[in-house]
């Protein structure tokens, strides 16, 4: 409950703080870096996903599928 205002806050920050001038193809140097990928460390996310799936009631969000286990 404590984090409820975060979605609109984040959206407002992003939308207000960034000029949405289209990025040109030759301006994609930073976006192309491995660290800028949506999931730069798939193994870490996979292992974390498994840990939290087995320890918490909530799951999902970043992706779908991934397979179940008897841990929850």
């Amino acid at each position: 409950m404590a984090y409820t205002p975060i979605i609109p806050l984040l959206l407002a920050l992003v939308l207000a703080g960034c000029s949405l001038e289209p990025v040109k193809p030759w301006q994609r140097d930073l976006l192309a870096q491995p660290s800028m990928q949506l999931d730069p460390a798939p193994v870490d996310s996979y292992l974390d996903g498994h840990i939290y799936f087995s320890k918490e009631a909530a799951s999902g969000g970043a992706g779908i599928g991934g397979g179940g286990c008897g841990c929850n």
């Binding site: 409950m1 404590a2 984090y3 409820t4 975060i6 979605i7 984040l10 959206l11 992003v14 960034c18 000029s19 949405l20 001038e21 289209p22 990025v23 301006q27 994609r28 140097d29 930073l30 976006l31 870096q33 660290s35 800028m36 949506l38 730069p40 460390a41 798939p42 193994v43 870490d44 996979y46 292992l47 498994h50 840990i51 939290y52 320890k55 918490e56 009631a57 909530a58 799951s59 999902g60 969000g61 970043a62 992706g63 779908i64 599928g65 991934g66 397979g67 179940g68 286990c69 008897g70 929850n72």
Partner: protein, 418 residues
């Protein structure tokens, strides 16, 4: 020389496997494309509870058509003890395993824990396949097998880029077919443990999970992008944990018996997820927030930050902070009271109770030969809930009904092109 030879043999074997799985791409073209390997060994340790060792390997191959093929495999070894749902008592509590073959005990005042040992083998396949200049499909299949659980998952996500490739829409669907093969058979829900003639003896149970997800990824600036996902899931079938029980207490709060738990056979959940990725001169952060809600009455919020701090020369430090909070499921009870009407569903599983979680972690990575990476990740996790809930009475007031969980993970990672 020997190394080089072995590498070639491995590459050919993997290429052949890839061809077989991808439905017959040409071996010659497959062998000319490089593979990359991402691997890790995870050591997960809960204080006084469960330990898991999990080696995992991800292999990825870029395909000639612009797609890619990913394969992964893992092998978990789990051992230790987890709370069985019963509350602490002023006497020694002894429990018989569902198969009736073994017993375990909890000392006076201690939270009863069920010991277990299991292994899990998991394999998966991802096949990204272009369907047009801007449209692609990502097909996935997973298999997971344990002594008492089997899961088969299938999924596909279609992604469509805008003409300027600054926006990507995605639509995904996934299906998971699971079999619960509980030790001794699934017990009859809510039956008393003291009445073994009616408990246990059930056969295998099954459950199905279907998921749908709509996603949007937007490049905001030269150094920022945003991802937003909305997902719904429907869980149907046997959603109960066959090993979890609830204490039945008398008017003084003393435990007089136990019942097997029972969860509803349907669960619908919704998730909203947003992630912001920002490049700052050198460093990069990933900030995400997730809202989860389901018809069991659980609302959960997750806030997560990874900050990649560049040390120069390809080395980096990455602190990780995660905060989590959830409300309790409507049917979560710490215990049942003798003489009161039985609810239609009840579980004392701490994971379905109101709870807060926090994680602090740090990863250190250095470049390895041929563009690879070596890393070490260390994290601390904690989960805490209301140990003295208002519903506790009598002797139950003197016990911590939600013992705090502390866990540590240590993970060694290695990635390399092959």
């Amino acid at each position: 020389m020997q190394l080089k030879h072995d590498k070639g043999a491995l590459r050919r074997t993997l290429a052949l496997a890839a061809c077989a799985l991808a439905g017959g791409s040409h071996p010659a073209s497959a062998a000319s494309q490089p593979w990359s390997l991402d691997s890790a060994v995870l050591f997960y340790n809960e204080v006084d509870r469960v330990s898991v060792v999990e080696p995992v390997v991800f292999a990825k191959r870029e395909l000639a058509d612009g797609g890619s093929l990913g394969l992964h495999g893992l092998f978990d070894t789990m051992s230790g003890a987890s709370p069985n749902g019963a509350v602490a008592s002023n006497r020694t509590q002894t429990f018989t395993s569902p198969s009736g073959n073994s017993t375990y005990s909890a000392a006076p005042g201690a939270t009863p824990m069920r010991s277990f040992r299991d292994q899990r083998l998991g394999v998966g396949l991802d096949w990204m396949h272009p369907l047009g200049r801007l449209l692609r499909s990502n097909l996935s299949a997973t298999l997971s097998s344990e002594t008492d659980y089997f899961s088969l998952g299938l999924g596909d996500t279609l992604s469509l880029d805008s003409a300027d490739r600054l926006t990507t829409w995605s639509l995904g669907a996934a299906l998971s077919l699971d079999q619960v093969q509980a030790e001794g058979g699934a017990p009859d829900a809510l039956t008393l443990l003291s009445a073994p003639a009616t408990a246990g003896g059930g056969g295998d149970e099954s459950k199905t999970v279907t998921e749908l997800q709509l996603g949007l990824t937007q490049v905001l600036t030269r150094s920022a992008l945003l991802q937003a996902n909305l997902a719904v899931a429907q869980h149907s079938g046997y959603l109960t944990d066959p090993y979890k029980i609830l204490s039945v207490v008398d008017a003084s709060g003393a435990t007089v018996d136990y019942r097997y738990e029972k969860r509803p056979d349907s669960r619908q959940s919704q998730v909203a997820y947003i992630k912001w990725v920002q490049h700052l001169d050198e460093d990069v952060f990933h900030l995400s927030y997730r809202y989860y809600s389901d018809d069991w009455g659980i609302d959960a919020h997750t806030l997560e930050l990874n900050y990649r701090y560049e040390l120069g020369g390809g080395r980096y430090l990455m602190p990780h902070i995660r905060a989590y909070t959830q409300t309790a499921a409507d049917f979560h009870r710490y215990f049942l009271v003798q003489g009161e009407a039985l609810p239609s569903a009840a579980s004392a599983d701490l994971r379905l109770g109101a709870m807060d979680g926090r994680t602090l972690g740090l990863k250190y990575a250095v470049p390895a030969a041929h563009g690879g990476e070596l890393s070490l990740r260390v994290e601390w996790l904690q989960q805490s809930g209301e140990g003295h809930p208002a519903e506790a009475f009598g002797t139950l007031r003197s016990y911590d009904l939600y013992p705090t969980l502390n866990a540590y993970i240590v993970q060694f990672g290695y990635s390399t092109p092959l």
